[in-house]
Homo-oligomer: 86 residues x 2
């Protein structure tokens, strides 16, 4: 593994896992009014795009990280639908 590979893995982990504290926060507050539906939708579409890219390139880390990201984003979409009104 090159330095670049390691930096890329760490960067990918930070970006993808950054969504977890955001999801925890809206579930704790039971409020997602400030969360933009356009944000979650575009993010989700983009992550599915990355999954497709990973399959086309046969790059397992890209596939796996973006499946994790899409799953976390799904829980943010659910929070928005449940707590986003008002």
């Amino acid at each position: 593994m090159s330095t670049a590979d390691i930096v890329g893995q760490v960067a990918g982990a930070f970006v993808t896992l950054s969504l977890i504290p955001q999801v925890i926060r809206v579930y704790k507050m039971k409020s997602a009014r400030e969360i933009s539906m356009m944000f979650t939708t575009m993010l989700w579409l983009g992550l599915f795009g990355w999954i497709a890219y990973g399959f086309l390139r046969n790059e397992l880390p890209i596939i796996l990280w973006n499946i994790i990201g899409a799953a976390i984003t799904a829980s943010l979409v659910y929070a928005k639908l449940r707590y986003g009104r008002g």
Copy 2:
């Protein structure tokens, strides 16, 4: 440009630009209570990691997209500092 390259470009654009409607929303609402500071901080660190990765690999699109992402995230951090209390 291969199909994978095009899919990757579109996916990258969606993920990075998804933050724009989120930033617009918190500035419009003048409220960022629900935005997690841990989310914005981890995202920012991760994006700087991707910029470093781009330099190490000499991949200009990665550098540019992540500079754009870091700039948008900066405005979300600013919104959090300004409107996040209460």
